[in-house]
């Protein structure tokens, strides 16, 4: 048996999905697009039921990808039952989608979700609703698991005798006329096709054209003009009005408002958090706290994982062995040294790196879920939209940019909050240009050596440079390669709700698991490759001038000279590709002392190096995440090239102009 879940966004549809399927779910993408597809499985009363979560939509037109996916699934896969998840606190608007679903299938179970909250707003007569619609109607409170079993029971044994939605007589007569013509062509679901033809639905017209039903298309066009003439408005407005008046009538028939007027809690909160003057400062404070929470709480876990894998140097000399050392020593006892080194210093170190990301990612998705489930994320979009639109993003785009200053990996994952595919890709392309915490650490390290008296100025100049570049690149991208049809930004500001622990837990695990499995594999593989370059030919000192990477660095040295990059700087950039903070280790290993570092580079060279480090390729983990989110190696390559081009351009500019002016020589 196949059940599809349909419903508006913000109705608790995914909570119902989780409650129905439990852990038995699979998250993938709908074929050919980056829209997330969730499938699950449940055994109920001996029946094996597959459940597909359709994208949340407000209607079923052909104007958006999500809406097309949802309706094509119902037409083509013909689910046995569609569960329409309705936000009972917002019944009228939600019933609009129901009227569209009803034209596609008669096997609908309505879940009146958030029923507890709705009961404070109006008295809903569920029995009356069942009678009017002739369909099962179940009150549910998904976050508490109420009504979930009943949904399955009704899906299996429910009585489906849909009364349908009535159009005005002069419209209905015309639908019937077209229906007769369409029946000749044996299309599935002829009534739906007839209505959509009259409604001037681009996709359906194409489809009917392809089966050669020219007479149906001509007739539909004629009927459309007739209806437009009778009612004196355009066809889209008219059909939306017919459906809404049904929804409106049904709503008033089954729901009786308890408390009208008066200021709601949501209104009061909005009065403060969306305030003309305080709104944006409050947002900045919330982000600051959220940010600190994620990185502060994650830090000890990350340190612990790092300690377990890499061990620790003891202050007075000596070294406590970590898992990598122990495992290497053990393996080296029965296999060639190079193999043991490859497995442990390459791959196992990669695994360690993957695991150190996990606490950040889990906490970050915890915070993001709190922001989203509480309703605050929509307010962020409301507050920041105007600013972000200048670089081609909607208001929510600010979140991934701010998170980028912590770590680009979760920041790129957070772009899932953007509904529009074009904007998602744009914000993924911009994110690596924001210096993450690891790069900022390197900045701090290098400036503390080379720019003792101007530390803050140098640091801020780099942050400012990155902000200017992000704004410029965003401005250019959104008007060139990431240009697209302007999508409407009609956004609901849902009432504030307390997020539930259970819901948060599910979110957290769902997202982190995907990162660990997919991005993790790529990171471990890349760690192996980096090892090969740094440790071979076998016998040389790891990462030294004699290793392959050292040889490459020496080969590139004349080129690097144009940017003020020394061979040591090139080697450290290579290791920075694995993880940016490794640049610090590499410097320490290559030079040993501060004075050796100071002797190796001029201040201008150091600054040019930092500018290069700011933009050049994102680290392996970030690239793996870019791949995971876009499923495109081309896109990964694009991000790498973008970084290198900007790095080359700006460090060249800095070094050459600096040299000309005789700065820092």
């Amino acid at each position: 048996m196949l059940i599809a879940l349909a419903g508006n966004p913000n109705t608790g549809k995914s909570t119902i999905f989780n409650a129905l399927t439990g852990a038995h779910q699979h998250i993938g993408n709908w074929p050919g697009v980056t829209v997330e597809k969730k499938e699950g499985h449940v055994e109920f009363e001996g029946e094996s039921i597959k459940i597909v979560d359709l994208p949340g939509t407000y209607s079923l037109t052909s104007y958006s990808l999500e809406e097309l996916i949802a309706r094509n699934f119902i037409i083509e896969e013909m689910p046995d039952v569609v569960i329409d998840v309705v936000d009972a606190t917002n019944l009228e608007r939600n019933l609009y989608l129901f009227t569209e679903l009803l034209e596609l299938t008669g096997k609908i179970v309505i879940a009146l979700n958030m029923f507890d909250e709705a009961r404070r707003k109006y008295k809903i007569n569920v029995k009356r609703m069942r009678e009017i619609l002739g369909l099962p109607v179940i009150p549910t409170v998904a976050i508490k698991g109420h009504g979930i079993k009943e949904l399955l029971q009704e899906s299996l044994h429910g009585n489906f005798a849909p009364k349908g939605m009535e159009y005005p007589d002069d419209v209905e007569r015309r639908i019937q006329k077209l229906l007769k013509v369409l029946e000749k062509y044996k299309v599935k679901n002829p009534r739906w096709h007839a209505i959509k033809l009259i409604e001037n639905d681009g996709e359906v017209i194409k489809k009917i054209q392809s089966i050669g039903a020219r007479d149906a298309i001509h007739l539909a066009e004629h009927l459309r003009h007739e209806i437009e003439d009778i009612y004196g408005d355009d066809i889209e407005t008219l059909f939306a009005s017919f459906r809404y008046s049904f929804a409106h009538g049904l709503f008033h028939e089954v729901a009786e408002p308890i408390n009208v007027g008066g200021v709601t809690l949501t209104d009061m909160i909005d009065h403060v958090v969306a305030h003309k003057i305080f709104g944006i400062p409050i947002f900045l404070v919330i982000m600051y706290l959220a940010f600190n929470f994620v990185f502060e709480v994650a830090a000890p876990f990350q340190d612990a994982i790092d300690l377990i894998f890499n061990g620790k140097d003891i202050a007075g000399g000596g070294h406590i062995n970590g898992l990598i050392d122990i495992s290497y020593n053990w393996m080296a006892s029965f296999m060639p040294n190079w193999l043991a080194s490859f497995i442990n210093h390459g791959m196992l170190r990669g695994l360690g790196a993957v695991l150190t990301f996990t606490p950040i990612i889990m906490l970050l998705f915890l915070i993001l879920s709190v922001l989203e489930d509480s309703g605050y994320l929509a307010r962020v979009a409301f507050l920041m939209d105007r600013l972000m639109r200048k670089i081609g993003l909607e208001g929510r785009g600010i979140i991934s940019i701010m998170l980028g200053f912590g770590c680009n990996v979760p920041a790129i994952m957070s772009t899932r909050a953007l509904r529009n595919e074009r904007e998602r890709k744009l914000s993924i392309a911009l994110n690596p240009l924001i210096p993450c915490g690891a790069r900022i650490q390197v900045f701090a390290f290098i400036t503390s050596i080379f720019f003792v008296s101007h530390k803050a100025v140098v640091l801020w100049s780099l942050l400012l440079l990155s902000m200017v570049v992000v704004a410029l690149v965003g401005f250019v991208y959104s008007r060139t390669i990431f240009k697209g049809r302007a999508e409407p930004f009609v956004m609901e500001l849902p009432p504030y709700r307390l997020p539930t622990i259970k819901g948060l837990g599910v979110h957290m695990w769902e997202k982190s698991e995907g990162f660990l499995r997919k991005a993790g594999t790529i990171i471990i593989g890349a760690a192996g490759i980096i090892w090969l370059f740094a440790a071979l030919p076998w016998g040389v000192e790891y990462g030294s001038q004699a290793s392959y990477i050292g040889q490459i660095a020496n080969f590139l040295a004349p080129l690097g000279h144009a940017f003020g990059l020394t061979p040591e700087a090139l080697i450290s950039l290579f290791f920075g590709f694995f993880a940016k903070e490794v640049v610090i280790d590499t410097f320490t290993v290559l030079f040993g002392t501060k004075s050796a570092m100071l002797a190796s580079m001029t201040a201008l060279q150091a600054y040019s190096f930092l500018v290069f480090l700011l933009f050049y390729t994102p680290c392996v983990a970030t690239l793996a995440t870019v791949y995971q989110e876009t499923r495109s190696w081309k896109f990964v390559l694009f991000v790498v090239l973008e970084g290198f081009l900007l790095a080359i351009f700006f460090s060249f500019l800095v070094y050459q102009v600096g040299t000309l002016l005789g700065v820092g020589g």
Partner: protein
């Protein structure tokens, strides 16, 4: 006037939804239709977008989108000062609600004179003098 011309707190009745394609369709499916009552709730600190209340839901629209919506300004009865005579434009509620009000002579097209503002409100209609609760008055729109 355009929806984007409304000031904070003002209400309006939609008369026409213009625009083409996706934006037109999206506005309609959010329930913005001729005859719908919309209240302007607040403006974003940066001046755009704007939050409106539509069918009991808060929806944010960019100015570029709100300008597709043609409206005429209306006032909920509870905000009309005493002494004024106004014409009823719309009664926002179900059949039962509309019946109750029509028994007091409050139906679209009829004139109403406000005798006392608060509370409860007292009005004179064709059918006599009646007291109206503020919650009910907030769902009667006049001009």
């Amino acid at each position: 006037m355009k929806l984007s011309d409304l000031k904070v707190g003002e209400s309006a009745l939609v008369t026409k939804v213009e625009g083409k394609g996706a934006i037109h369709r999206r506005l309609l499916s959010m329930g913005i239709l001729p005859g719908t009552v919309i209240r302007m709730v607040r403006i974003s600190p940066l001046g755009d977008p704007i939050a409106y209340e539509i069918r009991g839901v808060f929806i944010s629209l960019r100015r570029d989108e709100a300008k597709y919506i043609e409206v005429e300004k209306i006032v909920p009865l509870n905000l009309v000062p005493p002494g004024e005579r106004v014409r009823v434009i719309l009664v926002d509620g179900g059949p039962g609600f509309m019946r109750n009000l029509s028994e007091m002579g409050i139906t679209p097209g009829k004139m109403v004179e406000i005798l006392r503002g608060c509370c409860p409100m007292s009005v004179r209609t064709e059918l006599g003098v009646f007291q109206v609760g503020m919650g009910i008055a907030s769902r009667v729109f006049v001009r």
